[in-house]
Symmetry: C4
Subunit: 349 residues, 4 copies
């Protein structure tokens, strides 16, 4: 049987992927408290729908960080998509383009960023070598936004990967980088991917670097991985167009607050100055509705779309997601996204 | 063994009904968060009983939306009752009449509304064809109230039905309508019943339509499916006699707040202007007591009575319910419904 | 293996008692929400112990409703103790006497109240026949207190008993009453014990009756089964010496608040005017400590002692309980009961 | 497979230790509510990490009660370490020294305190015989701190030990004491270790004794086992250098508040006057981070290190712990411990 809802791709993909690859995608860091916390926190949010709104068809379209978007959704940056599908990024980005949804290219994409179709944002990891960073920023000039991920000074300890001795297969590489083979050879006690991160990424990236980057690019700047309102304010002051409230899907600091729980204070802190996106744990159209009611302008969705890619069902997945989002809007009496923002909610449990 | 309490009919009926019919009745939309949330929220409500009230026999009778009622309970409108019993609506309505409890006829009843015995209210779904609506309203003139259901602009995505390819059997029809065969043929990805709803119901129904209806009928108007206090106020302003705080038994917006949790704010909002009924998750006399203590004037009960109908035990079910209600009243020291409203409660958990 | 703690008697007795008798004792009413709620509410209470108190040996003795008591504990009134042991009340009361703890004789004791040894209080159910009530009150003149149970206008619906068709065996009778055989013959849909209660007990008992009783007896009056602070005040005004905050061990109104959760408001309401005892769910010395820290002057313990009686281990049970109470006091740095009352606590979870 | 995280040593050791020894270590008192509560309370604490802090390498070093320490961690005093490893205290203390972490020698160590290597603190149980106490204090002069444990006036009832008839094997003795054989012979109903405690320890130890001790020693005084802020203030007034907020790992008063939940009020009470350490339930670097964010200056870790000793992996365990701590600091954007203290947190659940 196929997928009846976006969340179904997890089990569908589970049957297809090798255990180490499945774990690499599903897993979180440490005891996976934050991974689970993202879901339970979203489940606790309860919406109060409106009625009699006279809505023929809900319109979930709008602008997201300056991109037109058919839904308040973008595809989260996810590394190495060839792990699950030979066409990897090409396939998922094309489906996103067809669905009218921005696609965020990871620094660690397994196809070169120039080859990836559609309306794309480029996600930047801060590499130790400033020249490489400059090169990436230049190459990303054709993208519609630059997403700087700030929650990976080092990679979180993902114990499933360590246990599995996870390493990239030979034919999956960080295609944007002159990559060493580091990510392909597991070392005891640390996953190969984490080892690569440790040697390639700069843990010392700071707000000064962000200011430098702001001057260096004309793209709208999105700061991804913020949970503390003080950091959100700082990003706004530097001129970011948006922040993404995120705990990296529970893959970085285990024990970090759930994104949806951190969202209200961040929204309070930056008021209407900049856009506040959110990710980590979104699994359905109802979750999108919840994030918007709680205060986000839009969400990134990660794993569910990667699982859909794994079973070669990207178009279907975006179709289901659109159905779920418009369905939730209609049932909540919301003609458009502005109406969604006016919904009240409570924390139940 | 028979039923010892109203809740027992669920498992008793479970053994008799086909899986798709059982699922159609039991199921909710999406991940069924709201379906489960209705129950856990009711379980969390804890009552503080009174003692030494000198009550010989508790009297649960009163008026419900202008109907005399032996208990603060009405039978919730439920479509297609022939699905579970050949006499369907006839049987359940007769038992309700014998128990002195109003019966709400669904727009989608499988017997014509004119044939259904007892003190009935008519539930109206807003159909796209205004003439059909007018016809139904005219035909309902002999009922004691008109219940407009406002939480079904479209049908919620009930994944069990989609999975089962649920469609109506040939001999079960929407007897009040010149129905097409749509509800009888499953389409992949959508249940036949949902498809029928989509084509027949008007999603654009609005407060203006309710005003029109108010002028068109002399029956007391009940607005069913309200959770937001702002909507309750609006219904009161238009002249509704009552609202039903309801999330449609968890069958519409998954992630919607539990009815019992939404109740206090709605009661606050409409004060003493109109009656506030409640449904979704009521399974026992104690639950009825809780709903009244929290602020409702009465409740609708859905599934438990349909399960009782399935095992041909409607009279017994009303008897058990009455026992449970009067028993709970006596144990809480309440001679009548006014006393129940004076009980204090807390949210435990 | 024997009992290591008071709570162990439940499983030890479980192996010995017939299922219907075991159920009669363990069970609660309805869905047993309150039965379970008593336990979870007690578990949630967390104590902040004190240290360096210089306590050689904790002294848990004090006065309880005018009786000297070696522990802040009395044996709760429980009907028909011959159900679990041929010597029934005689055995358990003797053990209580040896432990220096008051024993409350039930109206429905299976030995006549005059035969029961030790420092006893008499528990009165309000029977329909005023002459019988007067007779019982007169016969109880030798007891140290009169406990009027006010939460049984009718018996709660205990579904286990209904399911089991529970009835008293021939050799177990309500020895204080000219009892009919009613409690010995099960009727479908209602347990024999409940049927007997319905015919013998007066549901109309009221505060006026309590005033009458207050004039009629010189014993200290204890009102058992109060949860609402308004009722506690009323009892105090009538001249009661104590109230017992109790939901009858989850056997009466299912959905009633846990006793320990109701306790603080009752204590607030009656201030220092009268004693506030508490029961329902106490299973250990730590629970006793909790009840006192939350505000009770003492507790009644029911089922654990009946289970101990079933395995003929009453003395051992009182010994264990005393060990648990003094141990908890020592570990909380409390030399005496006054110190226990000064402990702070929080609700965790 | 080896340990991937500090918590893994529990199951690794579980396979090696005899059941009674495993239970002696893992177990708590009573129903083990506090044992479990320590963990659930720590899991509920959620941290809000900071980003872009420009941290090359996190530095977890600092001073702990006057000792330089490579991490804000000390090894909790634990009796009889030869139970799990022939070299017992020698081995674990050496590993602590190599890791640059203080080791707390138990009064009940199975090697004499003089033999134990590295930077040590001595933990004092207050024995009935004042001369023995004086002797221990004198012998501990070479240690860097004196830790007085105040939550063991008697030993908590650890039912696993009673059930197992737990007694020390012949070759494990309290090497600092002229010990009797008491701890080696189980008595029915009480563990041999508890019996020994009862006869050897003084339950009457009081604040006066602490004042005496303060005058008697020049070592910094640490009072271990405090949960109530009033006791913390008292310790500060007497001149203690630090308190340890602890419930003895759930081994003393069952039902006591979780240490992490008690921590904020203690920190509030003693302000900046003295150091506040914390223990009970710490199982990972993230837990260390949480304790510091909530207000502790450092933590003691007990069982995980004993389990590591059991599998002869002390060095590896300290290595893992250091990795976990620095990793958590980096991911939370903290260059040093001062930054950790500035993190915000919430209680989730
Ligand atoms: C397999 C995988 C790879 C990821 N790679 C990146 C990445 O390269 N850059 C990045 O900023 N975030 C990356 N993330 C994090 C996602 O962008 C996103 O924050 C997270 O997946 C959201 O949570 P969700 O998967 O629960 O929707 C990755 C996540 C996963 C699951
Ligand atoms: C099988 C089924 C059919 C229903 N059909 C209708 C309907 O035709 N019209 C309507 O207003 N509500 C309908 N409802 C919703 C009920 O009126 C009611 O809101 C809900 O069942 C209450 O929850 P409960 O079943 O938990 O008591 C239906 C519910 C069920 C379970
Ligand atoms: C088997 C049984 C019989 C009881 N009989 C009486 C009774 O005759 N009179 C009364 O006031 N309470 C009666 N009770 C209630 C107890 O007095 C007490 O309120 C309750 O058991 C306390 O809860 P616990 O069992 O959890 O300690 C009975 C309870 C049980 C379990
Ligand atoms: C086996 C064992 C022995 C212990 N012995 C002592 C002791 O001799 N002195 C003492 O102060 N605390 C003792 N404790 C308590 C620890 O110092 C510490 O407070 C507790 O273990 C912290 O909880 P954790 O094990 O969850 O980290 C002991 C704990 C265990 C598990």
């Amino acid at each position: 049987a196929g997928a009846l809802c976006l969340a179904d791709y997890e089990s569908l993909a589970g049957g297809l992927l090798s255990a180490p690859v499945g774990d690499f995608i599903s897993g979180g860091s440490g005891a996976e408290l934050t991974l689970r916390g993202n879901r339970s926190a979203l489940d606790r949010v309860r919406i109060t729908p409106r009625v009699m709104a006279g809505v023929e068809a809900a319109d979930p379209s709008g602008r997201l960080v300056g991109s037109a978007s058919e839904m308040p959704v973008a595809v989260a940056p996810m590394a190495y998509q060839r792990l699950v599908h030979p066409e990897g990024e090409l396939e998922l980005a094309q489906a996103a383009a067809d669905a009218g949804v921005p696609y965020v290219i990871s620094t660690l994409s397994s196809y070169p960023l120039e080859k990836i179709p559609g309306e794309c944002w480029f996600q930047l990891y801060w590499l130790r070598d400033r020249a490489v960073v400059e090169g990436l920023v230049d190459r990303a000039a054709g993208c519609s936004a630059l997403v700087v991920t700030v929650d990976v000074p080092v990679m979180g300890r993902r114990l499933r990967d360590v246990r599995n001795g996870f390493a990239l297969p030979d034919d999956v590489v960080a295609a944007n980088l002159q990559t060493t083979r580091e990510a392909h050879a597991a070392v005891p006690g640390v996953s190969a991917v984490a080892a690569h991160t440790a040697s390639a990424f700069s843990p010392t990236v700071s707000w000064d670097d962000l200011e430098w980057l702001k001057r260096r690019t004309e793209l709208p700047l999105v700061v991804k991985g913020i949970l503390d309102p003080r950091d959100a304010r700082r990003a706004a002051e530097i001129g970011a167009t948006a922040v993404v409230v995120s705990n990296h899907g529970g893959r970085q600091l285990d024990g970090a607050v759930a994104s949806i729980d951190a969202l209200p204070e961040v929204v309070d802190a930056v008021g209407n100055d900049i856009d506040v996106l959110m990710d980590s744990g979104i699994r359905s159209g109802t979750d999108v509705l919840k994030a918007l009611a709680v205060g986000a302008s839009g969400v990134l969705i990660g794993r569910p779309l990667l699982w859909a890619l794994a079973v070669d069902a990207c178009d279907e997945a975006f179709g289901l997601l659109r159905t779920e989002v418009t369905d939730a809007m209609l049932l909540a009496g919301c003609a458009d996204l502005a109406a969604v923002k006016g919904l009240t909610w409570r924390n139940d449990g």
